[in-house]
Symmetry: C2
Subunit: 237 residues, 2 copies
DNA sequence: CGACGCTTTGAGGAGATTCAAGACACGTGG
DNA sequence: CCACGTGTCTTGAATCTCCTCAAAGCGTCG
């Protein structure tokens, strides 16, 4: 697997540290072997750049190697709606799968590096790799569960939403092997508020409130969870 | 296909008036032929009875022949959350597909009659009928688009939500061949409000307001859309 | 180190909720 | 067929949460 052109050791699905979490999840070794030949690796976007635009044709599933992304939709007045945030190690692109046209725009919140599994390869995989279809279907049906969760959250107070947001980010980072208690938010208060359906001033007031209760420490975008239990009870209450 | 035990002509996927809208959608004739042998038909539930419960194992996809259903989840205090309403001709059960356990409870809002495509038949179909997998995947990826739509709606005023709700029901009934301008709401104000994330009193006030503007006529649950254009502009505004 | 964008903080106001009470519809039994 | 009771729907008044607008403080990056 040595490649004279590569300045570093080539990163493949085999040695990628996301291997248990990304597309290969649930595939056996030979299936991963097949997958790694089909994936376009080491794609880069700088902060603010798009990975794909709403309306563009679906080109395949993307796995974030590093960096984070916001997934946007636009309302009838052209205002951004932050549909989701994608963290390192997570997948995106599913918004284009139904109609083969992207429903959302994906924008890098910081420099990102990603892998890309093209559409025609997806089709090939679903034919040759039985397990792959299962993963794709489960993954997309999972959206239903996610939807219910979001629906419940939209009934809650602004404070509960912010608590849930922080805990959710924390959990997702933990799964990928990052620190669950101390991390940097890569999105603005505006983007958080937009995502949660509250004003950015409200986000500000609430994180300040959590800080005064010694639940978190927050300075600009650097966040430290001091009392996770209390934060959780805030959300569960 | 004659059956001495059947008192009426047996209803199959061939003569079902939902044939273009239900599971066979997108399948060719021979594929429909295969499907109709696998489906359990003519299941009945009375008003208030469950079709499946949250936590029960996934048994397959259900196609509503007649009647309507509410799809519920429950919050941490056991309060109902009305996740969705399912109208005649529509499918349900997808909330169990991801984890093979139902995430929601489906309750009949009136007497319902439904078909049932069992899990093992789904698996068989995905192997033997290439088109079926595509439909299932598209259908479930579609949940992503639905999620974005709901997210947008949750940002809007109570009035806009109610307008959107009425128009949405109207559109769905129209697709199934029912009157789009005059129909009976099978759910209570409470259930509508719950679904839209507003109080039932607010629903009441708003439909009354729409009536005073001569946009709709509503008497108890019987609804007549007088000025669809105006209703739409209310929603689009 | 200066400028711009992001974040914080305050004051006032709008929209929706909650609570409460009365009107209405529907199904049941007499 | 009508009276009755229960659950649903309507309507009003007070309250509250969160938003909007405005201005000042802070951070970050050229």
């Amino acid at each position: 697997m040595s490649n004279a052109l590569a300045t570093k050791t080539a990163i493949t699905c085999d040695n990628c540290n996301l291997d248990k979490l990304c597309i290969p999840k649930g595939l056996n070794r030979s299936e991963v072997g097949e997958l790694k030949l089909l994936v376009s690796r080491n794609n880069i976007r700088q902060k603010g750049e798009a990975i794909y635009h709403a309306g563009s044709s679906f080109r395949g599933i993307i796995a974030l190697r590093s960096g984070s992304v916001k997934l946007l939709s636009f309302d009838r007045h052209g205002n951004e709606i932050v549909v989701d945030f994608i963290l390192p190690g997570e997948l995106l692109g599913f918004d284009g799968m139904s109609l083969q046209v992207h429903n959302c725009t994906a924008i890098a919140l910081e420099t990102v590096n990603f892998c890309h599994l093209p559409t025609h390869q997806i089709e090939a995989l679903t034919l040759n790799t039985p397990g792959f279809y299962q993963i794709l279907l489960q993954r997309s049906c999972n959206q239903f569960d996610v939807q219910v969760q979001k629906m419940m959250l939209s009934r809650r107070s602004a404070e509960e939403r912010v608590a849930s947001f922080i805990l959710h980010i924390s959990d997702r980072l933990k799964i990928r092997g990052y620190s669950e208690l101390e991390f940097r938010l890569t999105m603005s208060r505006e983007e958080i508020g937009n995502h949660l359906g509250i004003a950015h001033e409200t986000v500000s007031r609430i994180v300040h409130h959590f800080q005064s209760l010694e639940i978190i420490e927050i300075k600009a975008r650097q966040l430290k969870i001091i009392n996770k239990k209390k934060l959780f009870s805030f959300y569960k209450e």
